[in-house]
Symmetry: C2
Subunit: 542 residues, 2 copies
């Protein structure tokens, strides 16, 4: 970063650079530039990702007829130059996408002539084109870029910026997932954490155990074939988004029991399911049976091939001990094996499963309980996803683990719709609703001062659990709140001067992003009356 | 009602009569009847409402390929008869729609042959056809009605069953309003309370004061013309839905000041708007000026003609005294008129406005504050809409007023999305979210025992205020929660035996209604994982 902190501060106070998430550093001028028909060319080498991104953004920019709500009274602006084209260049055509991917870019839009976008990788181009597209505003019958010249030097604060997406409690069509990936790219998010199976359904094809899908998908029309998954992965990759699958074991597995009852414990205990599980139906892999480990290894073997990302999520959350201590087979097994108990069985299970994953060359990603609520100690390459509270982040990095936070109290976007059990009219455990302001104000690095520990924070994920969500509401559940997280995760909590951004300051830009997303076909929910979007600051609490 | 309480109780325990809201009394058999292509004819006299309803329901029944989620494993059912046709008859062709409209109907579906639907009015036919349409279920490549013979005698418990719909804070297209009216008809709701203007915008055309819309609509594309309004009223009428407009005075009127600043007080006070109004922007009609009364009368004169319903809502909620006590003109006026004060000015304003409304032949409908938070005593023909708490219902009927409850704590469907002021990340005053169970459990008649007072309860309205809602989310904000209110308002809290229905009992039918609505193009939000919808009772709290 070459720009000084002072420039960052001055620039940040100008509302005209309405890019969401806000670039790390930027400068603007006071001219306006016509952008009649933006042509985008590549200087030197290119790559398929770059080419497809250029095609995509040409189309987006071409279709966009966007004026920020706060500018609704603005007439045609006077332009003092014409943008001839945007010239894109990359240093490397390497399309590897992972934790180490460089997403930085530099964008220059002059008052007149040729704009330039420079990046180290194709994915930097993807990010830069999104920023460029957001600079373009409708101007009468044509288009313009305001406040030129614009100079942006940008790179993400955190390398992992994602959404946990649960397609098991309720089903989401491939199209709705692709639309979600589009929306993610508009906000520079880069991880689609696909919580693809759970106790309620197993929508994804399995070639090893076809009955998992055959008996576990909600219906033949609520399934993901290998081809569907590959399509999602490719579509995501073109947008610089990694797809990390989660196969949650050994809990959250009732659905496995429909085809493999012999490896299960506490299948659908009723009515007192709450003694055996966090929610109905209860059911966990029977960890006393070697067949459970074999099953898990086979699942890992199959899906580490289908899902190409280098990280693989093994779940491990919310295992329930009663499920095993009250299981007759487990009881028999333990009686026959003195010195062992449910805890040692669980550690043994985790050890075998994680060790096996390591043989596939993948990095384990796992919910915090695997480490904090069991005696298992995975090696330090493991990435922990924490959700319980901020202390979990601190604990994770203090123990040397890399960490992603999905703190439920800030990032569970499904919460706030009341309890969902049919016969109870009270609140949900995770109420209230997490407003975009609440999401925005969360700081994953709070209370962590040691620079070495800070470096272990990979980033953040909002979560959309699907007890009360499905495809009909996916856009409004996620947006604009996931965008609020996206800015803090891409841009950091503070601008270049160290000033921590407040929701009152950024609201106007987020309104703009919400209406932009609407224009691009994403049904993001409204934040306020349109009157407030048009009158920045007028809807603040005094 | 001829059916005994015992029959009602027995029948209610059968899950197969999946009509929502549940008919007041019904009997079912154990046969199934083919309904290949349902023809609907009228015996004797008909009416345009009847004819259009028949066309509409032929289409709905024809398109519907619906199987209840709980029946997902059901194969083709054996039928022992064929429905030849449905024969509709009415006693009166009178299409007057109002508080006195009779919506009762009797429906008979035999095992074989001709079904009959008898009603006193065209609107009874509309209700009966909805019930009939819900009886039809997909059956392989054809359709069937289960558990025939079916005999239904039905009539609403409350005469006023509505939705308060705010099109001012954010705009809703006419199409989204028409879709909402469709959804209302699927749930036998009969009042669209159109909160059409408020401080944030004035979308509706005014021929008296064209600038109200000209300066007050959000844009030329966010407007309702006379033609639009007439289209909404006609569309609603065809579905047995009354359209009651609300022109909220003297508060909630900032938008009037854009074209008539001379009759306003406390226009958009910033930043301390909260001293002058419940939400920004502040602004109220200046009640010390006779021109404010004249303005209001002209509004009433114009819109009582456009809106044909016999009831007209005058608002009257949330007036703020500071707005007037600190207004220089009001101060001057009061100084020159000893013996008067803000309270007497307000009573005077209400008196003139309500008296004027009476001269138009309409019944006044008004928020409870008009009576309970001022010294004004309207006559007893006035209908009060209460929202603050259950004590308001009791107070209203004790004072002899007819009442409709929109208790915020149960019926404000916009609540539960956190505060919406940009710089505050806490809860909203009306959090938490009102789950469908919470909506369902509300009893408007709670704590009222005197039969004469009970008779004054006209019914209920859920409200969708639009600070955080607009057309993008309207379906999921309203449904299935408005359906939960619809059942308690149509069917009453208890069945014919006096048993008060519980959410655990009705959940399965409401799931069915939700999926039925999805099939009909209404994006109602999911209540639970599909697994729960398929396994009734399995997702109850033990």
């Amino acid at each position: 970063m070459k720009l000084s902190a002072v420039i960052g501060l001055l620039a940040a106070s100008q509302s005209a650079l309405a890019i969401w998430p806000i670039p790390r550093t930027f400068q603007q001028g006071s001219s306006n530039t016509q952008a009649v028909w933006v042509s985008i060319n590549v200087a030197g080498k290119s790559s398929p990702i770059v080419n497809s991104a250029i095609d995509r953004y040409k189309d987006i920019i071409n279709k966009e007829s966007f004026v920020a709500p706060a500018d609704y009274k603005r007439g045609t602006v006077k332009t003092s130059g014409i943008l001839s084209n945007l010239l894109v260049s990359i240093q490397s055509t390497d399309e590897t996408l992972g934790l180490a991917t460089d997403e930085s870019y530099t964008l220059d839009v002059p008052v007149n002539g040729q704009a330039t976008l420079k990046a180290k990788t194709p994915y930097g181009v993807v990010r830069g084109l999104e920023s460029f597209s957001q600079l373009v505003t409708a101007n009468g019958y044509t288009k313009a870029i305001l406040n030129t010249p614009v100079h942006i030097e940008d790179a993400p604060f955190y390398v992992h910026r994602g959404i946990s997406f649960d397609t098991a409690r309720n089903f989401y069509s491939v199209n709705s997932i692709l639309r979600t990936l589009d929306a993610m790219s508009y906000n520079k998010l880069n991880v689609f954490h696909w919580h693809i199976v759970d106790s309620h359904s197993w929508p994804v094809e399995s070639k090893t155990y076809p009955d998992l899908q055959g008996k576990g998908a909600y219906s033949t029309s609520m399934q993901y074939s290998y081809q569907d998954v590959q399509r999602v992965i490719q579509y995501a990759k073109e947008r610089g988004i990694r797809v990390i699958p989660e196969f949650d074991v050994p809990g959250h597995t009732y659905i496995v029991g429909l085809s493999k009852p012999e490896i299960m414990s506490c299948m659908n205990k009723q009515p007192n399911w709450d003694h055996f599980a966090a929610e109905p139906p209860s059911g966990q892999l029977n960890i006393a049976k070697p067949e459970s480990v074999e099953f898990t290894k086979n699942i890992i073997s199959e899906y580490t091939k289908l899902f190409t990302d280098n990280v693989f999520h093994l779940g491990g959350d919310e295992v329930n001990r009663n499920c095993w201590t009250e299981d007759p087979y487990v009881q028999q097994y333990l009686a026959a094996h003195p010195g062992q108990d449910v805890e040692s069985l669980l550690v043994d299970y985790y050890t075998k499963v994680h060790n096996y994953l390591e043989t596939t060359g993948k990095t384990a990603y796992t919910w915090e309980e695997t480490v904090f609520h069991s005696n298992y100690v995975p090696n330090n390459s493991t990435i922990l996803q924490v959700w319980i509270d901020q202390a979990s982040v601190q604990k994770a990095v203090a123990q040397g683990y890399r960490v992603v936070s999905s703190s439920y109290d800030s990032y569970y976007l499904d919460c706030g719709h009341g309890a969902w059990l049919s016969n109870f009219d009270g609140n949900s455990w995770c109420d209230p609703f997490k407003s975009w302001m609440h999401v925005y104000n969360y700081d994953v690095a709070a209370n962590i001062t040691d620079p070495a520990q800070k470096k272990l924070i990979l980033g953040t994920e909002v979560a959309l659990w699907s007890e009360q969500s499905d495809e009909t509401v996916v856009d409004s559940r996620l947006w604009p709140r996931a965008a609020a997280m996206a800015e803090t995760s891409w841009s950091g909590k503070a601008d270049a001067s160290g000033h921590v951004r407040t929701t009152g300051e950024v609201a106007s830009r987020l309104h703009e992003q919400r209406y932009r997303m609407l224009g691009r076909g994403i049904n993001a929910e409204p934040m306020q009356p349109l009157w407030c979007a048009r009158n920045p600051g007028a809807c603040n609490l005094p």
